[in-house]
Symmetry: C2
Subunit: 380 residues, 2 copies
């Protein structure tokens, strides 16, 4: 039976906040600055400290978050003045976007605002590496995500399966992601609920797949229809838009999320970013993470179970280093992952999803995945 999505399924209060409210917050922030100027005080701008020093593992919520440490920028401090100027022009421009229903990529806003300040030889920005961190400052300062500032990076990722979406910003297009041919739907860089609505879906779970080739394989084998599932291909590390969609599928459709990656530290890290979030975006885990996600494979146990020794590869130094780091992360401290990571470090091999083709092309769809799901053979 199709799952119709009732409005209240958009759980978090923050999720429901629309462009008007965000524009209001930006206005309030700016009014504070204007007030300070009028009172002949040094204008200030406050954001949250980022970086490892302020990342916290929230065990109860099951995801990474930022701590309480803040950073303040003073206009009259020469070391801060340029960044202060950059902050105000970006805040003003995103306020514009929100009022006029425009969106822009982070590269476009950089170009749109780049100019030489009149009467000086000073440029507003020398490069995008100056505007990107300011965008993050503003996200934190008004306590939102860039998508809600109508900004986005490049899209990546694909959706396939019996789910109907509506693009409210594009003639209310309604389309079902199992009826677009084998290519599926190209996931947009911004998939906010106020624009892209999940109408209904007829599936029991959502399988998130690391490689595009495995995504195509499963479609060719008819796996989603035969197993009543949605497929999301991340094409490597999942982009923000893809993570956001996985999050929404889980929250709004209450669908279990199973993650299927290469059997190596990089793949396992992709899983952990979907599940618990990343250090870099720790502030936004509430919008992006899926603490209930489960890991379906590949594991080093698979190498033995399915006799795949012959199609493994040596781990590279970077893999080994990453595995050693992951062993120490609190969110990898459960028995299953500790065993898996130690096994990787002692065997020093990795195995790709596509190595399953060594059994036969359809093996992954007819045996590997159905057996794992039946036996609930997951890592958590």
């Amino acid at each position: 039976m199709a799952r119709k999505i009732p409005k209240e399924k958009i759980k978090s209060k923050e999720e429901k906040i629309g462009p008007k409210e965000i524009a209001e917050r930006l206005k309030k922030m700016s009014e504070g600055i204007v007030k300070e100027i009028n009172a002949e005080k040094d204008p200030t701008f406050t954001t949250i400290q980022r970086g490892k020093g302020n990342v916290e593992w929230d065990e109860k919520k099951g995801y990474l978050g930022l701590g309480e440490k803040t950073a303040t920028r003073n206009f009259l401090n020469i070391a801060h003045a340029k960044k202060f100027m950059q902050t105000t022009i970006i805040a003003a421009k995103t306020h514009d976007y929100l009022r006029h229903n425009k969106t822009a990529s982070i590269r476009e806003i950089y170009y749109e605002l780049k100019h030489t300040i009149e009467g000086t030889k000073e440029n507003t920005f020398e490069g995008q590496d100056e505007s990107d961190p300011i965008i993050v400052d503003i996200e934190h300062s008004v306590d939102t995500i860039r998508e809600k500032l109508n900004l986005h990076a490049n899209p990546k990722g694909t959706l396939y399966g019996d789910i109907t979406l509506k693009d409210k910003m594009h003639h209310n297009d309604k389309f079902n992601a199992s009826k677009l041919g084998r290519g599926g739907w190209s996931i947009m860089s911004r998939v906010e609920p106020e624009e892209i609505e999940l109408i209904d879906a007829d599936a029991d779970y959502c399988l998130v797949v690391e490689t595009e080739a495995m995504f195509e394989r499963l479609i060719e084998e008819g796996y989603p229809a035969d197993n009543r599932c949605l497929l999301i291909g991340t094409g490597g590390q999942a982009a923000r838009g893809t993570r956001r969609l996985v999050h929404r599928v889980h929250e709004e459709l209450e669908m279990p999320i199973y993650v299927f990656t290469d059997g190596d530290p990089y793949g396992w890290y992709i899983y952990s970013v979907i599940k618990q979030g990343s250090m870099a975006l720790a502030a936004h885990s509430e919008f992006l993470s899926v603490p209930d996600a489960k890991y379906i494979g590949m594991t080093l146990d698979d190498v033995e179970t399915y006799d795949l020794k012959n199609v493994t590869e040596r781990m590279k130094d970077a893999d080994i280093k990453r595995a050693e780091e992951m062993l120490e992360y609190p969110w990898f401290k459960n028995e299953g992952w500790q065993r898996q990571l130690k096994k990787a470090l002692s065997m020093k091999i990795r195995i790709e999803q596509q190595a399953l083709a060594n059994k036969s092309l359809d093996f992954v769809a007819t045996k590997y995945l159905p057996e794992k799901i039946k036996k609930k053979d997951f890592l958590e």
Copy 2:
């Protein structure tokens, strides 16, 4: 008025060749080898030489092609024996795919065939770098493209606009690429006519865009509907599937192709690959190239015309080297490109598509492109 596509629009004879015919060619090739074995002769396999030494610029056809030089492999030559074995198992496997209506990525076929040969310690392949060139050998040997051997690499590229496609291998799904929301259709890695049919289209030309961000910008501005055009986003250098689709849109719909890239040697090279083909795939220009394609921008003249000096960047050494090479390519020997390349080498600057955002976000859609098209201000 919509352009319905009559079957005879699939012009080239080669285009119409289906899986049966290709399987037949593979069989004939193998029968030749069996014959030699039965006659107690040294079995041989013949393919076409690749690499710069055998690439020819076909001025009449307007694309790059391969010359007549062949390469022969003898099974009884120790230096050839392993490759000979690899060639026969890949040929047999693709023959299998064709008979059973299966497709595979070039990574999958590598994994599917990788094993230790019974009674030896010899692996069929040590890495994919051994199987990939063999696939190319076979393509040339049976005079086709890998897509027709049911093989493909990863997909990349997006299609948007009023064009209706049908996926004959997937419930005959019919969909219009202007009704999938702003994300458009994710172009498959294989878009062969016997599987993906172009049903009809209502547009005057097709604009091929280098960056995904510009692709999204033009959709947000409503450019395709206002200007009656299709959009294809390549996301950098166009993948084979994307080039194949551009080629088919031009051939079957007789639509002019305008290419819009960053104003730098890399972007101009992307244009030339779409138009005249690439050295690496010179053998397949007939299937992939669009000799009639026109270049719409960005150019260094745009920097002056639209006063964009402030948002240019310095060319890197690699850009300079590439521009110097391109100056010598026969297919860049016309006045327009010689002038452009020399200008780049003297000014040593580059300009990105998104730099047009410096005017305003909608500038590209309301001024830049419409003016260029109206004035026919193209490079050829």
